[in-house]
């Protein structure tokens, strides 16, 4: 996952042998009290706040053009069976300061169009994956440029232009699909597309308000404080967005959604003496700028970043390790997002080039019986924290909803867009993308639940018992994971790697030692079956996840987890040296003394 800069998912490959797992049976089961982990959520149903009076004329223009186009496209020799338009207008304000000085002050608004034209039938259309995965039928998607305003001709012309290009491309792609099928001995009977109910929903336009001057000063103060101690880089930035999305499809859906979002980044970095790039990034998210931390809370964030960075700078490199470990709440959330979440995305179960880790595991035990996992994009807050993965309708015009993925240890479902898979013929509202890319099934708000749990302090005691049992010199605790990747391609091992930022050795005497230079690696099935206990407290990770359909906001909530055996590898450390000279002292610059004192 997750955080900007991490690669989520890696995809391609051949049919894999279906694993035949025995039921999960812990080698060393731990008795846990029947007290569930605790997560208080607030939710909003997709149709909450429907305000028909706030309907934009854009929806009418899009509907009229969609209807007009489909009359003709349905009658073609290669008929279209589905046409969807999504128009996304986004204002993005970015203010960033480095070391006390403003380095970015951007305020841009773009309006982009995505058109999807499916040619053929729902059973077989242009999107069918070719057997050798050469991409000949892949579309050239792009964020089409559309005029602002609501002039019927200007808007309709832009819709028509992109529809024409995409229709021709889809018709050509269907030719490749048919050619490919003619060479195969067997073909999938699973349809390429699932239709859905007509949705009409209008959300009133959101407004973005903020005091720019105040935020600039705040970021300057913040970054001046962040550039301290060992840091050679200290920056603070905010990104405020106002997004309005209009969706119309040939099923008659007309959806207008509008929301704001706000993000604060505080980061500091330095190169360690051995060449390792050390950095600490703390992010906070909210619906509006007012949801972000105030000055006092920002100071706390800076303190965490600076303290951690200085500690990392002094921390020793760790050696490879296999043994018991605790993934603390946020780290456990990221871990589940990477190790489990990406593999449960429905389209990967259909992709012949994907490892299809869970394709044949429906109804089978894949985790301890006290553990359940679901994804629910209708959750707005969890433990009073705004969740990034909240939305009302996905990017394919389907309602968001709660999807059970693992119930009492058994795999029961997948995340689905409009690309059905065997046994799961309908979308469950997880078709997502960033503008300019085709949507695929993606996570929203992933939630890991435990029906049995212990206090966090008790979890650490259990860890030390495991250390003793396994005769290890120490156990490990991971409190922050920056991201990672998971390979889902059948051409490579079905392995994951996640990158811990804050990793500690916990010795039998309770001593805690920060270490660095390691990654957590492993395979998903083993990792899930190694979970032994969970904490009552649940933490949430908010972030953005990048995969083949672009960057989408997500969250992952999980209790802290005790893993019986976790494998830790040495991470890549570039052989660079730190800066050869000491940082310059501004006191040598006579003309700049005022600046320095001001900091």
């Amino acid at each position: 996952m997750v955080v900007a800069a991490s690669a989520c998912g890696n995809h391609s490959a051949k049919p894999a042998e279906k694993p035949n797992l025995p039921p999960v049976a812990a080698e060393t089961p731990i008795e846990l009290p029947n007290i569930p982990s605790s997560l208080k959520v607030t939710k909003s149903a997709p149709i909450d706040g429907d305000t028909p009076s706030a309907r934009s004329p854009l929806l009418n223009i899009m509907k009229a053009e969609n209807d007009r186009a489909m009359v003709e496209l349905r009658a073609k020799a290669e008929p279209a069976h589905y046409l969807a338009y999504q128009l996304v207008e986004q204002r993005q304000v970015r203010l960033e300061a480095e070391g006390g000085a403003l380095i970015n002050d951007d305020d841009d608004t773009d309006r982009n169009l995505d058109v999807e034209v499916r040619v053929g039938t729902a059973e077989l259309d242009n999107t069918r994956q070719l057997s050798d995965d050469n991409g000949l039928n892949a579309p050239l998607t792009r964020p089409g440029v559309v005029p602002f305003g609501a002039d019927p001709f200007a808007i309709s012309n832009a819709l028509w232009l992109e529809t024409d290009r995409r229709y021709n491309e889809s018709a050509q792609a269907l030719g490749y699909v048919r050619q490919d099928l003619s060479t195969l001995s067997k073909r999938s009977e699973v349809p390429d597309f699932s239709s859905d109910q007509r949705e009409v929903y209008v959300e009133a336009p959101a407004t973005l308000t903020f005091d720019k001057k105040l935020w600039i000063e705040r970021m300057k103060r913040c970054s001046a404080k962040a550039l301290r101690g060992h840091a050679t880089r200290g920056s603070c930035g905010v990104t405020f967005k106002l997004t309005t999305a209009w969706f119309v499809n040939s099923e008659g859906s007309q959806i207008q959604q509008s929301w704001t979002s706000a993000q604060l980044n505080v980061s500091a970095g330095v190169k360690a003496d051995d060449g390792m790039n050390l950095s600490r990034l703390e992010q906070r998210f909210g619906r509006t700028p007012d949801d972000l931390p105030n000055d006092a809370a920002i100071d706390e964030v800076i303190k965490t970043v600076n303290t951690d960075l200085d500690a990392l700078h002094a921390a020793p490199l760790a050696d490879p390790y296999v043994g018991p470990a605790i993934l603390e709440g946020r780290a456990a959330g990221v871990f589940f997002h990477e190790v489990f979440g990406h593999r449960i995305e429905g389209h990967r179960q259909k992709d012949d080039t994907s490892g299809q880790t869970f394709a044949a595991q429906v109804g089978h035990d894949i985790a301890p019986p006290w553990l359940s996992v679901y994804d629910d994009a209708t959750i707005q807050t969890a433990n009073a924290m705004q969740l990034n993965g909240f939305y009302r309708f996905d990017d394919e015009g389907v309602r968001a909803r709660r999807v059970e993925l693992v119930t009492a240890g058994k795999l029961v479902g997948f995340l689905l867009g409009r690309n059905p898979i065997e046994g799961f013929p309908r979308s469950n509202g997880h078709g997502r993308r960033s503008p300019g890319l085709p949507p695929v099934s993606r996570q929203g708000n992933l939630v890991v639940e435990a029906s049995k749990s212990v206090e966090r302090t008790q979890l650490e005691k259990l860890l030390l018992e495991e250390v003793k049992k396994q005769n290890r010199p120490y156990g490990m605790v991971f409190t922050d994971i920056s991201g990672g990747f998971t390979n889902t391609s059948a051409f490579a091992p079905q392995a994951f790697k996640v990158n811990p930022v804050m990793a500690y050795r916990i010795y039998p005497d309770g001593r805690r030692e920060l270490v660095r230079g390691i990654d957590i690696g492993g395979t998903p099935l083993v990792a899930l079956q190694s979970i032994r206990a969970a904490s009552r407290e649940v933490e949430t990770f908010n972030g953005v996840c990048g995969a083949e359909s672009g960057w989408v906001p997500v969250s992952a909530s999980a209790p802290s987890l005790l893993i019986e055996k976790l494998e830790v590898e040495k991470s890549f450390i570039p052989p660079d040296r730190p800066p050869l000279m000491d940082a310059p002292s501004i006191r040598q610059t006579a003309s700049s003394k005022t600046q320095e004192t001001a900091q």
Partner: protein
Amino acid sequence: MKRVLASVLLGAGLLVGNVGGAHAKRMLAPDVVPSSQAITKDIVDAVQEEMKRAMNNLQIPGAPKPYSISYKITEVEVNDAVASLGYSTSKKSRHFVSLEARVRVGSVNFDNGNFVVPGGDDIDAVSTVTLPLEATPRIARRAAWLATDSAYKEALIQLRAKMESRKAGGVGRADVPAWTEQKKLESDTQIAVPVLETVAELEARAKALSAEFRGAPHIRDSRVAVTSYLERRWYLTTEGTSVTDTRRASGVLITASSQANDGQALAQHFLRYGHTAKDLPSDQELKDEAKKISDLLHNQAKAPLVGRYVGPVLFEGEGAVGFVRQTLAPHLGGTPLPEGLRPQDAKQFGGALTEKVGLRVAANMLTFTDDPTASAAFGKALIGGYKIDDEGTPAQRVTMVKDGKLLTLLTSRTPSQRDAVSNGHARRTADGGAFHGSATNLFISAKGGLSAPALKAKLIASARNEGLGYGLLIKRFDDAAITSAPEFSRHELLNMLQTTDQALPPPALVAYKVYPNGKEELVRGVQLAELPIRTWKDVIAAGNTPFVYNYLAPSESFISLRIGGGTDNGNVPSGGIESAIITPDLLVGEIEVRTSTVGQRPVPAVARPTVPTP
């Protein structure tokens, strides 16, 4: 105020040339951009202090210290607006500041410069960092510290790789120094330039002009983009040079696309730059140009494909500019190609004249001069001018070819022969990090130029001599930097990438067959064969009226821009090297022409939305 400004402008060489009085008055607008708030004397002092510290102390034990460090600080402000069919599609205001550090290790006789590290194209001893938008010496100095450190480490790797390459028989010449020393220059006078047009002003203009296409049912897509930008630069070197320069430009771009009756995609554009919006055509003139584009596309829809042709070709106006730009401009640099550059990349980069100094390379009537000190010519603004080049060397007027004979080339501080020095033309870069000599205000002049009718008569006569029924006239070439964003499918792009011969010039966008009776027939699909530098010897006549054209020379190739989408958002390009070509029409004796049928598409699957009644 006006007097002060005039003297500053003259000092900067921005009013040299044949600017008329009225034009000069327009340039002396009272509203000038205030001094930079980001780069002040404090910032320059801070960076210079760090430069001194690095020269004294920056060293890995056992490795050579830097013998030269230079910084280029660049501050850019850009306002852009784009509109289609009367409505905005984009409006942006951007402001950013960067510091680029360059470090040389070794000595002037042999150093790390101008060498492509095998497998390490990005190792070039150059490091760029962002600077604050408001003067903050502490951060500027810290930025210089980190950028210099990074550039120095790369310089050491580059030097080692270059030494090993030479041992293994690399192409470098041991008798040619790696670098030329230069006297220091000092001037902290900031150049005053007129303020940028506001985004609101640009948007209003783009919207009004783009509405001209609303009544044209044959136009598929159309956009009008306008831009206004300025670039301030500061050059600091360990030789003691500390100078500043400022460039200011405004531009307008009109693009439209259509489809021929046989399905071939059609596109046209109109592009103009000047120092400010006042140098651009008037609103009415631009509306006329939009109408001309619309009419041209309407006529091209039914125009025939050119067919096979080998014979004389007349390049007129923008067509002559395109001919100069594609076949001559890339070869006028005298900086040696980077050692280690892949042959296919070297061919793209130019350099066909480097071994021909002293020889005849063009028709006797032709003289080529590059004059970056000029700000205008023949009443038109030139944007290719500058006071100081990218290595801190003062700009110089250089005549490269006189009466067809190659006298010299445009040079940077990386020499191609012993005793060569920079003549102030370091502008474009290549892999390996060195600046290369480049033409920016390129003047082509011809003795005995003919009038337009006489030139056409000569075209017809030449064609007749070859037994041809017509001659070919080219008025415009494609420019992927501004006409991309076409309606390609992914399949088409892949096919283009695999099959395009990158040695060919871009397709001609406006071409006519000219018959003996003077009739001009519009044709499509004109693709010229490869035009080697020797084609310039075959120029058999030229016009007597120079055409002035400004553009930004991109660093990417035509095919890269096409594949990558160029200015996909429709903006006027604001990246690339500000350039101008001033040339008469040119008649070449024999060129091979092929018919291009690329871009064949089905007719629209759905009829275009009904054009509203005005």
